[in-house]
């Protein structure tokens, strides 16, 4: 009787502990901690191109269309690397910072000549060779003239290639630099692109008018 009892106790212990043991084996999903979280921001604002009659932009909604279920997870391997903010917040902040530095940012939506809605298609590391990190930021901007309701789509993309590393701290540093570089490249591609210039010309019949009238007076 005691042996049967002992066996029962043992088997119930195994039944209780087994799922816990299995879950500990499969729990390799990285979790964000201060140690594996990186902060992305532009080291300096990207200078925008010169427009004939500079309009004032207002950044409206920023929508993530990447379809990434974990947009803040940049890299899964080696305990994971996470972003400190959502890509939508990072992109908005970077574009606004650059527009403000070039004096192209409106104080509010009502004062804007052109409103911009951003759609993110890719933000993070993309599939590269095994020898390096391939950072890619791809977004589309819907530039709209609120007076006429007309809108033009402007696409922008930025890429960057950084060396791989062995140490976790170096990997984190390289990924951070790589992502910052690709973000800067994408914003530069947007703000200095011929597509934005054409969009401003196409939509700017009414948008540039106040600036022209004030300069003539």
């Amino acid at each position: 009787m005691p042996t049967i009892f002992r066996r029962k106790v043992l088997s119930s212990f195994v039944l209780i502990l087994l799922p816990g043991f299995c879950s500990s084996l499969t729990a390799d999903e990285p979790k964000p901690t201060p140690a594996n979280t990186i902060s992305l921001q532009l080291s300096e604002p990207v200078p925008a191109q010169k427009f004939a009659s500079p309009p004032k932009f207002w950044i409206g909604d920023v929508v993530d269309r990447s379809g990434n279920p974990q947009p803040m997870l940049v890299m899964k391997a080696r305990g994971g690397i996470f972003l400190d903010r959502q890509p939508t917040v990072i992109l908005r902040e970077a574009v606004e910072q650059s527009l403000k530095a070039s004096d192209l940012l409106a104080s509010d939506a009502s004062a804007a000549d052109l409103t911009v809605r951003l759609y993110i298609f890719h933000f993070g590391l993309a599939e590269g060779s095994q020898l390096d990190f391939f950072g890619k930021v791809e977004f589309s901007a819907m530039v709209k003239n609120p007076k006429t309701g007309e809108s033009v789509e402007v696409k922008a993309a930025g890429t960057s290639i950084a060396k791989r590393a062995t140490l976790k701290s170096n990997i984190q540093k390289n990924v951070q630099e790589n992502m910052q570089e690709s973000l800067k490249d994408a914003i530069r591609n947007f703000l200095r692109g011929q597509a934005l210039k054409d969009a401003v010309v196409a939509l700017g019949k009414d948008a540039g008018a106040p600036a022209q009238t004030t300069s003539q007076q």
Binding site: E127, G128, G193, Q194
Partner: protein, 167 residues
């Protein structure tokens, strides 16, 4: 004093190379475009983006231009005459054969990639150099590594074309 002399010597030795690099920067701006793929070329969609990024990185390293601009970026009219655009097409890609490569060796069964590229002046679209690149590699290697090799080969060919071109 000895340290100062060492620095001075190093600076004197490095000066010709630095000057050579400045001399190579013949363009004010250089804009690589995404290479198109000819019919029948079966490469992954990610290859095009990766190759473009590699080419830009290599152009920046090579200092062929004062500034390497992204695709579709506006360039000042004043700089257009001294600026160039790189347009290209991937004309052929052969996957290679791992078995052949392992059994025969001597580069048999290697994957191969052929590209044609034109370096055009931005202002009048005149073709300055025409480049043909053919890269071969072991079939077990990732196609992205091939992209890296192709980008390096293109830079090398542009340099050769610059040297051969009358000044």
């Amino acid at each position: 004093m000895r340290l100062f002399l060492t620095f001075l010597l190093a600076a004197l030795l490095a000066a010709p190379f630095a000057l050579a690099n400045d001399k190579n920067a013949r363009f004010k701006t250089l804009e690589p475009k995404h290479f198109t793929q000819a019919e029948g070329v079966e490469l992954s969609p990610a290859f095009s983006d990766y190759f473009y990024a590699e080419l830009r990185a290599e152009l920046q390293k090579a200092k062929l231009a004062s500034e390497v601009v992204g695709e579709g970026e506006a360039v000042d009219d004043a700089d257009a005459a001294n600026s160039a655009v790189i347009l290209g097409t991937i004309t052929e890609y052969k996957k290679g054969n791992v078995a052949k490569s392992m059994l025969i060796g001597f580069t048999a069964g290697w994957q191969s990639l052929k590209m044609d590229a034109d370096v055009q002046r931005r202002s009048d679209k005149q073709t300055l150099y025409t480049i043909h690149v053919h890269t071969r590699m072991d079939p077990r290697w990732n196609e992205k590594i091939m992209a890296k090799a192709c980008a390096k080969e293109i830079i090398k060919e542009i340099r050769n074309a610059q040297k051969a071109a009358p000044k």
